[in-house]
């Protein structure tokens, strides 16, 4: 089983994936959909999905940041 001092490293990898590729790709996707010629209903549906994913990703980043703080104490 994982040692406590390795938890911070493990959570850092989780934070890296959430805050870097996940968020940047979603934000770029949102920009592209906003500027697309998709019809209004399809665009609204896409933006709703993307908004949901961004909200969850930010929430995950917050939870993991808290877990890192807990792990290093």
């Amino acid at each position: 089983m994982i040692k406590k001092n390795n938890l911070a490293k493990m959570f850092s990898e989780c934070l890296s994936i959430e805050e870097i590729p996940m968020l940047s790709n979603l934000e770029e996707l949102r920009g592209l959909v906003n500027n697309s010629r998709l019809d209004d209903s399809a665009k609204a549906k896409m933006l709703k999905h993307i908004g949901h994913l961004i909200k969850d990703t930010l929430q995950h980043a917050r939870i993991i940041t808290g877990l890192i703080k807990g792990a290093v104490k």
């Binding site: 089983m1 994982i2 938890l7 911070a8 490293k9 493990m10 850092s12 990898e13 989780c14 934070l15 890296s16 994936i17 959430e18 805050e19 870097i20 590729p21 996940m22 968020l23 940047s24 790709n25 979603l26 934000e27 770029e28 996707l29 920009g31 592209l32 959909v33 500027n35 697309s36 010629r37 998709l38 019809d39 399809a42 549906k45 896409m46 999905h49 993307i50 949901h52 994913l53 961004i54 969850d56 930010l58 995950h60 980043a61 939870i63 993991i64 940041t65 877990l67 890192i68 703080k69 290093v72």
Partner: protein, 241 residues
């Protein structure tokens, strides 16, 4: 391939990678409370895979509309005068804007850089920079997280060794360069506000001595406001990205 399709396929891969990463960690964790938190996130990632697949199908049905009109270029961060007129810069950014803030700083300054990654693995930021066609050959990474890669490691718990490592790296730099701290907000997991403030003051004066500049990136969050309000006055310029 259309840009939207490209981003969706990439998103699907990231979500699947995240799901697999959390899944592998769950097996290694003893603590039931921690396990529960990670299971919750893992389950979200599973749901996200389904959502992205649904978006891919939606886009397939609307093939004619997925071309995008040219987006107006986003304004970068105003960095004019850095090093020549001011050498320490404090930049606050929202988490959702954070990756683009990093890209804009590196793109905007376009010089050699010492990049300190405090709580994230440099491999991820390096890949993001490459995806945005930035020259990572100009960047020397220092990581406070042990990981595979060719970057130097320094213990996040020891601010003295961290400042020594920064100074050693500064001595090895050629030409004009700057130090990028990503992020000072993460320091609070290990250090008191007073220790962080002392560190910021010390490193600012050291980097000035080398004729270089330093950029402190902080997350603009309610929980970080107290620390951000104290770091800002220690720097020559404050920017809200």
């Amino acid at each position: 391939m259309n840009q939207i399709n490209e981003k969706l396929i990439r998103q699907l891969k990231i979500e699947k990678d995240a799901f697999n990463l959390y899944n592998s960690f769950i097996k290694k964790i003893d603590d039931q409370k921690l396990k529960k938190s990670i299971i919750r996130i893992r389950d979200d990632e599973k749901e996200h895979v389904g959502i992205v697949e649904e978006m891919i199908s939606l886009v397939k049905m609307h093939k004619a509309g997925i071309e995008t009109v040219k987006e107006e270029a986003k304004k970068g961060i105003e960095l004019k005068g850095f090093i020549n007129e001011f050498s320490s810069l404090f930049i606050t950014t929202n988490i959702d804007n954070y990756p683009f803030t990093i890209i804009n700083i590196i793109k905007g300054l376009d010089m050699n850089c010492i990049y300190l990654s405090f709580n994230k693995m440099p491999g991820y930021i390096k890949k993001l920079l490459i995806d945005h066609r930035l020259d990572t050959g100009k960047i020397k990474f220092i990581s406070c997280v042990k990981s595979s890669g060719s970057w130097a490691y320094t213990n996040p718990e020891n601010l003295t060794s961290l400042s020594v490592k920064l100074e050693e790296s500064a001595r090895g730099m050629k030409g004009k360069f700057f130090v990028l701290i990503d992020s000072i907000s993460a320091f609070s997991a290990y250090h008191s506000a007073n220790a962080i403030l002392r560190f910021v003051g010390l490193v600012n004066s050291k980097m000035e001595k080398y004729g270089s500049g330093i950029v402190w990136v902080a997350i603009d969050d309610e929980g970080e406001k107290g620390l951000n309000d104290k770091i800002g006055p220690l720097c020559d310029k404050i920017i809200k990205a």
